[in-house]
Amino acid sequence: MSNRAFALVAFVIALAIVAASQLVHNEYFFSAAYTVLQFVILATAWNILGGYTGYVNFGSAAFFAVGAYSTVFLYKAFQPPLIVMILTGTLVAGMLGLGLGYLTLRLRGVFFAIASLAMAVVLFTFVVNWDYVGGARGAYILQPREVPFGFPRYIHLLYAAMVLMAAFALVVARAIETSTLGRGLAAIRDDELAAECSGVPTLRLKIFSAAVSGALMGMAGTTFPYYLSYIEPSSAFGLSYAVNSIAMPLIGGMLSWPGPLIGAVLLGTIQQLVQVTVSSAWNLLIVGVLLVAFVTLAPNGIMGWVDAWRRRKH
């Protein structure tokens, strides 16, 4: 399937999902589905740098929070329409990915991983000390009273935006994966030196994929302040975003776009169920245990099983 056809199919499915969910009357469905979709975007975005290129980003939460706090800033300054906030947050997070990549992707992969962790703490400290966006106390973001496009409540609009953004993230990931660019990234992942010797512009490709990955993570965060109506640094920078966006692609499978999608839907749904029935601390324990179990015992994730099963059939 060509990328254009895939994009068309993805957006048609997304619109169909949005239309079909209007039949659901349970309000909890929308907020739970919003969270799962948010993880679909984060996992897909992480995988562009982590799975395709082989560089581990521990700072997903920082990119997510940058997206969220750019919305808070715009809300305080101009109150523009939601779409402007989404575009701005995506752009700012992309610039951050570009900057971090430019500074540290020349070094060995592990330095990038540590630097991404470090960046998260530096940005956290800045936000805590920045009073305009609420500082450590946090900030209240009021949902607009009038909901555009005829949605009954604001959460329905956020949910619809999230479905479309998730479709967009998947389209971007697949486009990268199937292009020459994606083959260049795969060459970097498998043997960076050999790739460099065969004329792959490794540094440029790595920086590009860091920027795209960061931008998509930021995009996932842009609607977050509206979703909660209240935002504080420790919720926006939560470690669970960093862990989940690593665990989901690893569990689903990192080599192609369905992996993170499967991982995110599976793990996200489990977490929603556990959060309701047990507690959120157990939630995080389950993610951690699954991450370690999959990475040691099934390194290619669920998609690895699927591929093995397909090969046996032929």
Partner: protein, 291 residues
């Protein structure tokens, strides 16, 4: 702003004492990351484990936390051996350490933190020692013993590690692993055995550093994360795989944090170590005393 001599002097003392503690936190990373090329970002998890073991024994039997941590360090040594064995079999042997190995350690860090939260909750825990309330005064300078005692023991530990590495057969084997593993194989030494014990040693230092931590400040499960960046910052700043470099890096960081906290406010202090790390990575990745 007028800077008084007392304020300045106390900032210097605090930086010095803090730096000694940071050296203890980082010396393990200096071994595992700098010498063995094992990127153990789960190191702070073992520091916290050390803190909580010291806390439990201190709370129930009243023993001194630092004595306890030295007594249980063989346990940490064995834990380190087991962890390295899993890491070696699952990742290093298959050549997957760069991505999956990192994710593995991240998972271990996370599991430890959440387990500690489930057992002890998110309350801050502290220990009672004979010296925690005492402060020596020298003119206008304060020397709180809860910082001085960990500082001295920590220095002894770091110097001990350095002497061990340079003056024993096994220590030199570790340094040889850091230089060239293939050459070691050609000499008929199994690098796996050397790395296993050296990694175990690094985990043992984490356990002792954990006791220092809980003597210095109250401990809560999620503070472990802050030490990842700190320990790696110290190692990279000082130069990879150099114990003296680690000591130097720790003091630089201690002074930087103490001055920031004194003159700009404590809420900015965490950004210092990470900012230094980012700057070092960007401008001088080989560190101050790097090879």
């Amino acid at each position: 702003m007028e800077i008084s001599t007392a304020l300045l002097g106390n900032a210097i003392i605090a930086g010095l004492l803090l730096g000694g503690f940071y050296a203890a936190v980082s010396v393990g990373i200096s071994i595992s990351f700098g010498m063995l090329d094992v990127v153990n970002i789960a190191h702070p998890a073992f520091i916290l484990l050390g803190s909580y073991i010291a806390y439990i024994v201190n709370d129930t039997m009243g023993f001194d936390p630092i004595v306890v941590s030295v007594a249980v360090s063989p346990l940490f040594f064995m834990l380190g051996m087991a962890l390295y064995r899993v890491y070696y079999l699952c990742f290093e042997k298959r050549g997957q350490e760069s991505l999956r190995g990192l994710a593995f350690f991240f998972g271990v860090l996370f599991i430890t933190e959440v387990t500690l939260v489930l057992i002890f909750g998110v309350d801050y825990r502290m220990v009672q020692t004979a010296y925690s309330e005492t402060t020596l005064r020298l003119g206008v300078l304060d020397f709180p013993l809860r910082l001085v005692v960990p500082f001295l023991v920590s220095l002894a530990m770091v110097v001990g590690v350095q002497l061990f590495l340079t003056h024993t057969f096994f220590g030199r084997a570790v340094l040889a692993v850091a230089q060239d593993q293939l050459a070691l194989r050609l000499m008929g030494i199994n690098p796996y055995k050397v790395k296993e014990r050296a990694f175990a040693l690094s985990i043992a230092t984490a356990g002792v550093a954990g006791a220092f931590l809980i003597v210095i400040q109250p401990v809560q499960p999620s503070i472990g994360r802050d030490f990842i960046g700190l320990a790696f910052a110290v190692c990279v700043l000082g130069g990879m795989g150099s114990v003296w470099g680690t000591l130097l890096g720790a003091f630089v960081l201690g002074f930087a944090e103490s001055f920031t906290a004194t003159f700009f406010g404590p809420s900015w202090a965490p950004a210092v170590s990470f900012g230094l790390l980012l700057a070092t990575l960007a401008f001088r990745p080989s560190g101050l005393l790097g090879r």
